[in-house]
Amino acid sequence: MAMKRGWWFAAAACVAALAGTRASGSGDPGPILDYVTSHALHPIDRAAFAAGNVGIVKPSAPAAVRYLDWRLLTGLETGTDAARALTTPCCGDWQDLTGVWLEARRQVPGLEADYYWVSTERQGPDYTSIPTCFGDAFTTAAATLKARIAAHGATSLWVRAWVDAQDRVFEACSKDGITLPPLDPGAPAWLRADRAYQQAALALYDGRLADAEAAFAAIGRDPTSPWHKLALYLQARTIQRAALTTRESAAFARAHAAIATLAAAPDGTYGRGEVVRMQQVLDYHEHPAALRDRLDRVLNAKTPTPDIAVQFKDYWSLSANQPDKPEAADWIATLGARNREEGLAHATGRWQATHRTAWLVAALGLARPDDAGALPLLRAADRVAADDPAWLTARYHLLRLRIGRVPDATLRPEVDALLARRDLTPSDRNIFLSIRAQLATSLADFTGYALRQPYCKAGAGDCAAVAAEAQLGQRGQDWLGLGDDARMTIDRLPLAERLALGRSARLPTALRLDLTLTNYVRAVLLRRDAAVNETARMLVTLLPQVKADWQRILRTPPGPAKRFAEIFVMTKIPSLRTDLADYARPHGDEASFGGYWDDWFVQLPRGMAPAAFPAAKDYYECRWWDGGAQDDAVDLTCNGRCGEAFPARPASFARPMQAAARSERSAFRRAADLDRGKTGGTTLWEEALAYVTAHPRDPRAGEALYRLNRVGRWGNNHNQLSKRAFRLLHARYPGTVWAQRSPYYYN
């Protein structure tokens, strides 16, 4: 069935949107459930926009969301419909609907069942694909088939003939030279009428636009055709498509005339509501500058129009790469300026010229504390009135530009007051929680602000699906995680403080597991038996999959046997780490624990560089593509979405402990930290191998060698650990199940 929508329009918009997105490399698993979003896909964020609450402006937001910010900052109305339309991603309604048709045709017996998808594009030049058929064609076909089956029965030969023809029509979505099967001369009138429509649709998909136009016109002249009412609209669309294909003035004139005819048709005529959009499509190609200026007026009107999202797409695509942008487009572009200095100078200039707080917001987003012009911006930000839509953004940037430069005690009450507000979106609350955690006066104070609520849909299970990977925990119905900044602070604490935090009942159980497991590794490496026992005791319940191992550690007195028991359990948990930065929670049974082993030195090689904390960028949750970022550009507070980086720094109370924490880290050295070409040293695993070598009768010896073989195989295999474990296993315990499970050595 013929399409009803302007595919060229949507395609152009989508291409423009794609061109503007961050290069996705060879792809990535998509955004993880985040603590800060700039996309406003969540109903809470959409409701905030609809209610006129701009929140913290996020320059990384899609252009349409930035336009919403612009509306709010300049006193224009938004409303539910406009907020929804502008925050819905481009082409989000382009879901595959061929399945609807394929499902419907399964009602007809005898058709090919092994048929799951229909290509809706034709091959264009240079390996491109050009959309031909759209979703509503398939839903219309499915509905029509349902009606024909209801009227004539699923086994009717005429219905079967209808489906055969429709299959061919859809085949033409992707192929040239398709023809319809001949129609039986005895076919009933309804099938003849449908066949005429199918022929017109086929001509349209085939690019035979004159044929399609004539066919739709003929249908329009036949009052008995069930497609009669659609004909005028489809005829106009076909003529419009011809104009956009040929780009000839005569063709554009015909298109204008056809649209005018449709506009003049009586009320209720099918497709009359599309007239404005159809006209805009023509204007886009014929008079782009005039259209842009008209849209600028429309988009800066007090009340949003119903077509605001479509209008904005055209406006933005006509403005984004032009040097003489209208003010709204200029502001949207300046927020995301590629050249910071130029963008800052421009925004500051516009703010001074217009006194619009929108421009102050743009300048603040691009400012750094050391900029020469930062002080006037700070003063202006401080003067923004509390009822100004820019107020919250101004307060955020004031905090960003002043933190570390003024006493924490000055900032703390302000953040507390912000957090007391009831109108913060989850993103903005998480941002201020992060700032407050960084100003924490004690571990207890810190704990109150370290937890953040990620964006999850209640009951949808999407949090649960990524809980282990995202280090989330559940408390009641809520999913909670430690903020990126909080995890950085925790990793920079000495073990004693980490242990205290692990005891906190304020943390969800799953997060206590994460903390306690990393504490356990630290305790083993630091050889602190009391801490080992404390963590092992907690892990009996937190990680019961290896309960017997924790219990063995607890009942073994200090000495080599206890040490071996400690390492033995570590051979079962490959994702163990000393830091939350690169830790992954084990889940499932012991056999399904994922990850690969790290290898810690118990005796360092000579000349190893001093220990260091993990880099701030290591705390970006699953944002691998930011791996090249310098630490001073790492923003663990707003995840780089609020403009220039909020400085990443550990919480105030933790800073005096940094020396002690760094000193402890000398026990956390790994083979991966070695400079290239350097060797030597002894690892934790070699310690276990030495124990087994010296204790051949230990009942765990065979299993330990099997596991050490795996540790070397999947870990760094320092000093050929895997090979040594393999040889000893097969030399000493050849008939055991452990030898059978490791039949070959692997380097």
Binding site: G99, Q123, S129, A672
Partner: protein, 241 residues
């Protein structure tokens, strides 16, 4: 005794000519590309399909940006991703529909190799595995099936059972533990999973000092390729030998 046997072999190896230049493949990703400048021995892998899974449905489309080339691509790449804004409901019906779409885009150019680029979380691996099995079953045996992999996957033990001819670990955006893995590779180490030892991928914006030689190298650039970008990446790759 074993050392004695090895010595003649080592001597023979020393007499062999220098290793040939690595096979290089340039990815033509979702942007306009003009690769007519490529030297004769460089291959092209073109993204022909894009599939976005969400809920119980998906979006499928072909390439939107032109690729200008003076030779046919040797690899058709289908990129698949899961939209996390809507939890995926991976049913047999959806699997059949998605697989049919993937196969369409895999065969849209007559390339001897098809590559699936689909990075998934641990909880979504079965979706990737299903798609790979369906694509393998739907392609002629003469067509090679390749897949990209987050490098950290190659330190785990689930890739070996996949029905693919080539796994391409990406030495950029490596995933969790990327720093340690990078150190391992740059330090002369290799991927633990043997199936990951035939090919690898590098990016022009994430240079790596050293990687195992003798692999088929896929090259990625975050912007459209230029002759100088290509030359810089290739030069670096050749230094690994």
């Amino acid at each position: 005794m074993r050392c004695h046997l090895l010595l003649p072999l080592l001597a023979l190896a020393a007499c062999q000519p220098a290793a040939p230049a690595p096979e290089v493949v340039v990815w033509a990703w979702e942007r306009p590309e003009d690769l007519r400048f490529l030297p004769k021995d460089a291959e092209i892998a073109v993204q022909t399909g894009f599939i976005d899974l969400a809920g119980d449905n998906f979006l499928a489309r072909g390439r939107r940006f032109p690729l200008r080339a003076d030779r046919p691509p040797t690899t058709a790449v289908v990129h698949i991703q899961i939209d996390d804004s809507m939890p995926l409901r991976w049913t047999p019906a959806l699997r059949a529909r998605v697989s049919a779409a993937v196969l369409h885009f895999a065969r849209i150019v007559p390339a001897p190799r098809v590559q699936i680029d689909f990075e998934v979380r641990q909880s979504q691996r079965q979706v990737l595995i299903d798609v790979l099995h369906d694509v393998r079953a739907g392609l002629p045996r003469t067509v090679l099936l390749s897949m990209t992999a987050i490098a950290s996957w190659c330190q785990e033990d689930w890739l070996g059972a996949l029905p693919v001819d080539e796994i391409v670990p990406m030495l950029f955006r490596m995933g969790r533990g990327g720093a340690a893995l990078r150190a391992r590779i740059e330090g002369g180490g290799d991927f633990a999973e043997p199936a990951c030892r035939k090919a690898l991928a590098v990016s022009s914006d994430a240079p790596i000092a050293r990687a195992p030689p003798g692999r088929r190298i896929y090259m990625f650039a975050p912007q459209s390729w230029t002759p100088s970008t290509f030359d810089a990446v290739r030069k670096r790759v050749e230094q690994w030998r």
